[in-house]
Symmetry: C2
Subunit: 444 residues, 2 copies
């Protein structure tokens, strides 16, 4: 394998571009400037656009008429590093162990977007030109909800006009096992709180007469699923697009059986909707999950109180064609109906994001698959993922072009966690994939 030079990549990784913490704003600006200069050195037209938050970098090859335009989206901001003491080496001092780079942002998303940048650079160096027109759109607020990208897209819709978008901000099935990801789940978050008496009560004096919000909340949470772990909110599945036979067949051949997942998460048995495999449930079926539950005494031992309130933090993962607004209405109606009269129900909606689905059998999808097969020597898997990238829907709606998701992170990349990592062989493969992809897309 012809390993890419890592010194530039490490420069990129050393910026502590933690977008959620305003204290790092200067480092994000410096990182955007560094990218801008990199693009200019490659011979691209590049510009840094300030926003009310962190800047957006846009770079483009000199447009050649008659060629297709491909927009490559990525982000240079990263997650916080807590818990810092669980890192083997400092998160912003890249360290290579057994050919794997350990650093915050190495997989999410600096390594992935940088492999595209290096691919374009290599093609330009080797051929003097690109087979397509390329636009890089690299933002600094992906980890905090892309607050300013939507408005920017509206404002720069014409300059960003393209035939197709490419995003590598997700995962491969396994090492050496590429995948074209054609679907993601959406999300809707809601906190449910029950209020009982005005204060915590003595469970001896009032036990048996006072409303117990913890008991009642448990009963309400228990109504979220039936015995088959189907979500029991009325109408929840109304808009759900069922899996196609080809998808189930495609996923059945992946090495992702129950034992694989049980070993991955170290549990004694998996759980979920009857009638679907684990991958089907996580990638293409909607869920209702309790992310947190609390109320009453949390300390050691016993405290004989009846809690005055209890809460559950819920997220619902959505699949086409569910929408956050639809699910919010149905969940609100459900909890309102099942809430007992002894407590006051409070529901606070959190963030929402639309699910994403595209056609991997389109001409562009097939071109991407050929590029991946050329890069890795194996046919890519056609997969969906269970997570959510809400900005994809905004990109597609605003720019009116389809999106291909070609993830380069491994399942153990530890994105958002300590010891995030990215193999140098994936950086190298990403460079070759970019070169092959632009060639294949040019011919569509």
């Amino acid at each position: 394998m012809n390993m890419p030079p890592t010194s530039e990549f490490f420069e990129f990784l050393r910026f502590p571009s933690i977008s959620t913490d305003p204290a790092y704003a200067p480092q994000l600006a410096a990182c955007a400037d560094w990218l801008d200069q990199k693009f200019q050195r490659m011979g691209l037209e590049s510009q840094v656009y300030p926003t009310a938050g962190h800047p957006i970098v846009v770079a483009r090859s000199k447009p050649k008429p008659g060629r297709r335009t491909i927009l490559i989206y990525g982000h240079y901001d990263v997650q916080p590093v807590d818990p810092i003491n669980e890192w083997t080496t400092p998160p912003f001092e890249p360290s290579v162990r057994d050919g794997v780079v350990f650093a915050r942002g190495s997989a999410d998303n600096k390594g992935q977007i940088f492999s595209h940048i290096l691919g374009v650079e290599k093609t330009l160096r080797e051929k003097g030109e690109l087979p397509v027109n390329v636009i890089f759109l690299v933002e600094g607020e992906e980890e905090i909800g892309c607050e300013h990208l939507g408005g920017f897209l509206e404002e720069h819709r014409e300059e960003l006009a393209c035939d197709l978008m490419v995003v590598s901000d997700n995962g491969m099935v396994a090492r050496g096992y590429p995948s074209l990801t054609y679907g993601l789940r959406g999300i809707f978050a809601m906190e449910v709180k029950l209020h009982g008496a005005e204060s915590d009560l003595h469970s001896g004096i009032y036990g048996g007469m006072a409303p117990n919000p913890a008991t009642l909340l448990a009963r309400m949470i228990a109504t979220l699923h039936d015995e088959q772990f189907r979500v029991a909110v009325p109408g929840f599945y109304d808009a759900v697009v069922e899996l196609h036979d080809w998808e189930r067949a495609e996923w059945a051949r992946l090495p992702l059986d129950d034992d694989f997942f049980k070993a991955a998460i170290h549990c004694q048995a998996l759980m979920g909707e009857a009638g679907y495999t684990a991958a089907e449930r996580a990638w293409a079926r909607p869920t209702a999950e309790v992310n947190g539950i609390g109320g009453g005494y949390q300390g050691h031992g016993t405290k004989t109180v009846i809690p005055r309130e209890a809460f559950a933090k819920l997220t619902f993962r959505l699949v086409p064609n569910q929408t956050p607004a639809e699910i919010e209405a149905k969940v609100r109606a459900h909890f309102t109906r099942v809430c007992p009269p002894q407590v006051r129900l409070e529901m606070v909606a959190g963030h929402g994001g639309e699910p994403f689905l595209c056609d991997p059998h389109s001409a562009d999808g097939k071109a991407a698959r050929r590029a991946m097969a050329r890069t890795w020597g194996v046919e890519p898997a056609l997969t969906r993922e269970g997570g959510s990238i809400p900005i994809l829907d905004t990109l597609r709606r605003t720019l009116g072009a389809e999106i291909l998701l070609l993830g380069l992170a491994l399942p153990d990349a530890a994105c958002h966690a300590p010891n995030e990592n990215f193999p140098l062989e994936n950086l190298e493969a990403g460079i070759r994939m970019n070169q092959a992809l632009l060639e294949e897309l040019a011919g569509v």
Copy 2:
């Protein structure tokens, strides 16, 4: 009303005799010595017994043959004062406002036991002797589980031999509305924990396949009661002694309807077992209460995790003839049966205490009722209470004598809470009650 002198009472209240904090051990010892000297000044034989914890004070009148012996139990230790900033005046600097003394321990139990002491002192002063032989047993570990009293009782069983015990460490129905309390509930505590995956998981990546201990715990908690809020643990009611008709009739005439309790705890509706009034449920029916529930994200907003574990802290209040051991076995069997295979169940038993019941229609019970009627000018209510005083069972078993509970605290005494208080009129009434009680008991 002939108000008692308060200076001695205030001396008693000024000892910060917080038994749970070892730093206060010297103050508990000083308080015990102070009591000992008080008893000696009254002409009683008194002795302070050291224990491995806080001392026990025993005082007795000079025994006269042919007279009955009455043991009066109380405690000089108090609860901690947190949250200290919610006290209007300092907890160990007694303050009288509108005839009510505010101080930690004023109601629980210093005011109540001190009224008995002053009653005995007054009778001795007025008559030169008591109509019965009296033993005072005043300990310093009631608020922390009476750890050393059981052994002390075994060791001093003969010296403490008595015909009847009297305890004032509980409440009256309302101001001027005395009650003879003939029943208390027992208790059994258990923490239930469910373990899923090895660590918290991303709810996008694994939602729909990973076990969710919070969801499953809610389903298990929901099996604790049926739709009528009867405890649904199989066999839970097997040993329960049903309420007698006279008890229901007695309680029905008390001013304790749903509106009273709703106003007391500020809730929109009461909850509990169908077929019983609120007082019946809280005093004479067993319960299963969630005292605390927790698992997963507890902070602000959303964190999209599947918790690796979830817990519920439970207490079961017991009524005659349920026992903690019986209920533990039934609850363990129930949770073991309903626990789903996706999670590992952990159950940790906490403390237990037997329920208490005596006969208010016994000759001694009737004597106590006459004494209360003489004191307040109204017939006392015959009540039970929902809380637990596990030491009563130990006292009764070890010394082989019955116990009468004649509470002097008002419902708003704020025992264990900031601004604990005790009206001076209750101290005065307690003195008269003690005098009348010893007279009435002498004639039985």
